[in-house]
């Protein structure tokens, strides 16, 4: 079982709630994914559409909410969003996301460390989204991050884990759970991250924009389990030299 802070999770697939074509599709896809932890964002209420309330579609008994600070460009904005999330969501859990540059949506290491330290002191359970920077991961856990969330590739690119060597080092050194976030575009990407020893993965775009989000959610759920099981069972090493899978003896009669 995965433990983060004082909470345990059976599912190692975290779900995002953005980009779904409809609330109904989102509900069914999340159910199919088996996710227990789901992310949500904070935005101004659209007063022309008061009934459009995601909370009407998500059972808080079923899902553990992880509000994100998406949109924040620095620590100050992120902290403001964190406090709003705590007030409306009645939770101190937070996916800290600070992305100053809307072109790349890559996280800011300096502001992320600063905000993590302040928010932890203020009682938040902070899971920072971060570049796959092993030293930064060490510093984030030193200031009390409950987990680290290194990126596989830029948000929404579906390119998978382009940061393999960095993620491998982060996993090797981490004292807190490592959740690979962003860019996982196919179940095989999620499985590969889990095989490396990641504790969990977060997937949103690849499920939400799939031709069939419900089936894709199921596929990611299976792949995450497959990757975790393989990691626990122990993978064979890669080798350049071929080795027969059938016996090499007992063929004298052929020659």
């Amino acid at each position: 079982m995965l433990q983060i802070a004082d909470k345990t999770f059976r599912s190692r697939l975290f779900g995002g709630t953005g980009k779904f074509a409809s609330a109904q599709v989102m509900k069914e896809a999340l159910a199919a994914s088996g996710a227990e932890m789901i992310t949500v964002a904070l935005r101004r209420v659209d007063l022309t559409n008061p009934a459009d309330d995601i909370m009407a579609n998500l059972d808080r008994e079923t899902y553990w909410f992880l509000p994100n600070t998406s949109g924040a460009r620095n620590a100050e904005e992120a902290i403001r969003l964190a406090n709003l999330a705590r007030a409306v969501g009645n939770t101190n859990w937070l996916k800290l996301e600070i992305t100053p540059d809307p072109r790349t949506l890559l996280p800011d290491p300096i502001e992320t460390l600063k905000a993590t330290e302040l928010l932890v002191k203020d009682g938040f359970i902070v899971l920072p989204y971060m570049n796959a920077d092993p030293i930064l991961a060490l510093r984030l856990q030193d200031v009390g991050a409950a987990a680290v969330m290194p990126l596989g590739s830029p948000i929404g690119t579906n390119q998978g884990v382009l940061t393999r060597f960095q993620v491998a080092i982060i996993i090797d050194q981490a004292r807190v759970p490592v959740v690979v976030d962003a860019g996982l575009g196919a179940p095989s990407h999620a499985a590969a991250a889990m095989e490396m020893g990641a504790d969990a993965v977060l997937v949103n775009t690849a499920i939400a924009v799939s031709g069939d989000p419900v089936r894709m959610a199921r596929a990611f759920a299976q792949a995450v389990e497959a990757g975790r099981t393989a990691y626990e069972a122990g993978l064979g090493l890669q080798d350049n030299k071929a080795a027969a899978s059938s016996p090499e003896v007992g063929l004298d009669f052929l020659r």
Binding site: G16, T17, G18, K19, F20, M26, T39, V40, A41, L42, R43, R44, V45, L47, P50, A51, D53, I54, M55, A56, F65, P67, N68, S70, N83, L84, A85, A87, V88, G89, I155, L202, N204, T205
Partner: protein, 66 residues
């Protein structure tokens, strides 16, 4: 009297409470957080808070995100 809500000017009656205002907007007070002049208003204060002219409200809620 006039207040600003989510960037738009609204005309509200004297003595309107925040809870009442949210009801007028057909919003569920339990899923909306309110900043009044950049200060977060605790849920339990919605009923007591009487809106005053020129106040700047921000109504924020959870939406889908990754």
């Amino acid at each position: 009297m006039k207040i600003i809500c989510n960037g738009t000017e609204y005309e509200v009656g004297q003595g309107t409470t925040l809870l009442h205002f949210l009801a007028q907007l057909q919003l569920d007070p339990d899923t909306v957080v309110v900043e009044c002049d950049e200060k977060i208003i605790p849920r339990q204060a919605y009923e007591a808070l009487v809106l005053a002219p020129g106040q700047n409200l921000e109504l924020i809620r959870f939406v889908g995100g990754g």
